[in-house]
Symmetry: C2
Subunit: 222 residues, 2 copies
């Protein structure tokens, strides 16, 4: 077999190989995230990467492999903030920190967010198993932690999974629906306002009620 860097799993990749694979993935992220899988052509990726189409197929077995590679890389980065929640920490601050980190990701990595949204929107055809084997266990685990906090009375009662859904939804909205947000909030610093709003939203939800009827001041702003 004369040549086959695309399929080869073993052997250390050359410098050129490393550089070009990175270029291709960067270009593919750009194109896939705005046009979806079917809406993206290899020619578009090739043009964006500054390589020829056959050259791209020298590094990847096909369009699908590029897409799957991106998706898998993405999920890890995506779940990092969730893994960073410390079961030993202060519940409210752990969760608010998570909210903040997710919002930052939406601002700094909007293409990744849209790539993921595109995939899920279409029924996760290339990610289903991954969600099952990677996302689900992590969410189950996190849900147990949050449930524990709630039972200890250190957090207002919430369904952990619905809580996570609403955190994901509100934070990713700014990346995924940017076209809509842009129409409705032109020339404004969207992120600052979003941050304040979302922090208030979840802090109010999660702050435990004062137990008895004592007129104690709550920890909310003003």
């Amino acid at each position: 077999m004369p040549q086959a860097p695309a399929a080869q799993a073993g052997r250390k990749p050359s410098r050129i190989q490393l550089r070009n694979r990175k270029r291709i993935l960067e270009a593919a992220l750009e194109v896939f995230s705005t046009h979806g899988f079917r809406g993206t052509t290899l020619d578009q990726i090739a043009a964006e990467a500054g390589l020829s189409k056959p050259n791209i197929l020298y590094y990847f077995e096909g369009k699908e492999e590029i897409h799957v590679t991106l998706l898998n890389q993405l999920l890890d980065a995506w779940l990092a903030p969730l893994r960073a929640i410390d079961p030993q920490g202060e519940p409210l601050e752990e969760l608010m920190g998570y909210v903040g980190r997710k919002l930052e990701m939406s601002r700094d990595l909007p293409r990744e967010s849209r790539l993921f949204a595109n995939e899920i929107l279409q029924g996760a055809p290339r990610m289903g198993p991954h969600l099952e084997s990677v996302l689900k266990p992590l969410v189950d685990q996190t849900a147990a932690v949050i449930d524990g906090w709630v039972r200890q009375g250190r957090l207002a009662p919430v369904d952990p999974r619905h809580l996570l859904f609403s955190i994901w939804a509100t934070t990713q909205h700014y990346a995924d629906f940017e076209a809509q947000v842009g129409v409705l909030m032109r020339d404004v610093d969207v992120h600052t306002g979003a941050s304040a709003h979302i922090e208030a939203l979840f802090r109010r939800l999660l702050t435990p009620e004062v137990t008895a009827g004592s007129g104690e001041t709550r920890t909310l702003g003003h």
Copy 2:
């Protein structure tokens, strides 16, 4: 010109025409909402509608016209709950009613939600002007109403636009990310839990703080 029901704007449509256009739009909604615009083929729509491809092109000028027709129909239905907010009503209940109606729509019309999400995700290439001319004025108007309520102290201070974003995000999440929600909440009545969670989320956010330090019980559940 011998025949051209696709292009004709005038004249009243025949019974057959009405029936088949409806069939096509229903089939197209099904397919577009799961595969996106580029991911959908006319053959798929034809098969789903039980018609031949040329027959479909007898009723619509092309793939694009079908998609645009769906999108325009959709936006009206989508905005109805927003129009239903009564500036004269009780602020908290008006907004909670809106939240509830949006959540119902997400449950009852998930395909429409996904169709819309797909379009916005890709930068609203076929909807941009419509968002500008229809959505924006309505949102501006609603934002003014909410702002008024806040200034009257009948609502906790919120940014109206970010409030709308978070309502849209949380409610539509259940339709748009159904593939993910399904993995994480198998065999559970998702809607009931979602409803309780989202109602708590926004009721807490929007309920105005009691002015002074009186230890009055708030209107929240337990």
